[in-house]
Symmetry: none
Subunit: 310 residues, 2 copies
């Protein structure tokens, strides 16, 4: 009957409080200031940090009476503890939400490319068919980030651009978006109707990050058109990207859906034989919660259809 498990040990447990203390000291690089910031005296702070080091069997800080520095182990702890505390806070919020009567919380990661167009539709559909569901949406993410977040269960479902590498994930195809050219409105090509990719060979490009699916497909398409795009600026957020275009810094290839972003000073032009990028919804295959199943059903009747958008 004895379920002795590593999870049940209680001695030498690193506590949340200690992580908070450590972060304060590591950020301030000063016990006194950290203590002040934590609204406590300096000696107990020193003691807690010392205890933490003993529990981990590892020196985290190098103290000279003059200054405090981080060891390599300390650097690692600092970075990871910050993430951990953020997750704990998120968890607290989510539990409170459910406690207050929400039927559940789904954490959704959304590709930068779908954050503004598709997501509002999904949120509306969810509100209609799953009242009580709270969506915790993180937008402007890249596919590799989302894959990791799904695997580590930091998000429950993601709207992303295939392909994916992980074999722990399932995919449901949503739609195919052609790439269009975003040009400054006074650009000479803006007067033309239909462009060839090759027309852009000498243009400076504003691009999504290297790791993004749109970038990968754009670059490959350019290569096939016989040139290698000269990227003058890289940016993750589409809104930023488009404002660079509007400022005349260069041209960009963005998914069709993006055209709705009618930014002052930008025109969109279609491409002949336009390359296309898929959009899909992904989840961890072994996540079989009813909540997720029901949410995925929202995509069955394509979310883009019918009268449920404003």
């Amino acid at each position: 009957m004895e379920h002795i498990s590593a999870r049940d040990r209680r001695v030498d447990d690193v506590e949340v409080r200690q992580m908070r203390y450590f972060i304060a000291v590591a950020e301030e690089k000063h016990f006194g200031r950290a203590a002040q910031r934590l609204h406590m005296a300096q000696p107990p702070l020193s003691q807690q940090i010392k205890a933490l080091e003993e529990q981990l069997g590892t020196q985290l800080l190098v103290r000279t009476t003059r200054k405090v520095d981080l060891t390599a182990a300390g650097e690692l702890l600092l970075a990871r503890a910050r993430l951990l505390l953020a997750e704990i806070e998120k968890l607290e919020q989510d539990v409170k939400l459910v406690g207050q009567g929400a039927s559940g919380v789904l954490r959704v990661g959304v590709s930068g490319t779908a954050t503004y167009r598709l997501m509002p539709i999904i949120v509306q559909a969810a509100r209609k068919h799953m009242p009580g569901l709270r969506l915790s949406v993180q937008g402007e993410m890249l596919t590799p980030e989302m894959e990791i977040a799904l695997e580590e269960q930091r998000v429950d479902v993601a709207v992303l651009r295939p392909p994916i590498r992980s074999n722990q994930l399932s995919l449901k195809f949503l739609e195919k978006d052609e790439l269009v050219v975003a040009l400054p409105e006074d650009h000479e090509l803006a007067s033309r109707g239909l462009l060839e990719l090759a027309d852009l060979a000498d243009e400076p490009f504003i691009a999504y990050p290297l790791s993004s699916a749109v970038n990968a497909i754009s670059t490959e398409a350019c290569r096939q058109a016989g040139f290698s795009p000269r990227i003058v600026q890289e940016t993750q957020e589409t809104s930023t990207l488009l404002s660079f275009v509007a400022a005349g810094m260069g041209v960009a290839l963005v998914p069709t859906a993006r055209r709705m972003f009618a930014l002052q000073g930008i025109v969109f032009r279609q491409l002949r034989n336009a390359p296309a990028v898929d959009l899909a919804v992904a989840w961890k295959t072994d996540n079989e919660t009813a909540l997720l199943k029901k949410f995925l059903d929202l995509f069955e009747t394509p979310a883009t259809t019918e009268g449920n958008q404003a």
Copy 2:
């Protein structure tokens, strides 16, 4: 000066201990059994769970005196708290590993004389005892180069030929290699067994660079034997040096260890009263990272001895 931040609050902090307790109760669905499993009495467990519920402002468990059930919020907390605890445990492990120096990057400079013989043994030992360590090896370096590189912290540790000039460095002796004569196989001295250094007085020499330790010791030994070697070719890499010998351009003095370089057309002959060169490992004295310490420990059981390689 007041850095008031949400991260610094300490009241109402959900603690790791509480999550452990909750998980135990949620899994057992029974306070008594959970308390037993946690090696504690039942009342304090009830209190902690109650406190947790108050901190979250949310009911987590439905208690009938007959059984305990999870609310939706409780289910959520259970699932996510398990993940969180796993992450914390992983973090503890990783911090310990880094603290013990088991992972990280070390930049190693290696004397030309040891690049091929000693280094592979060291790399193997490191792979075995310090998994996660990445070695960035630069081979075929000379002692003065390595001294400077160590001082400027462009490398962390070096395998070199003493003596060294710098007083910022520490040394650990590794082994002593006698110098032997490398001769073209058709050389008249190749027929003799044991040579005197003086026999070489009129021979053309292929030598290591002036700044190398082997060259310094060779030249000094020749001087004591009553002649000054006539150097016809200078080269840094041993493989190149030996191929000059094979080509009949001259003779050379190389450390014993080098004989394994069985190049076609070369014979090695021992010297009476052979001069010897030391091999040592050196590091910057004030570099006290755990990573380096652990790496240096690899040399304690001399890396040249057998037994510890696969």
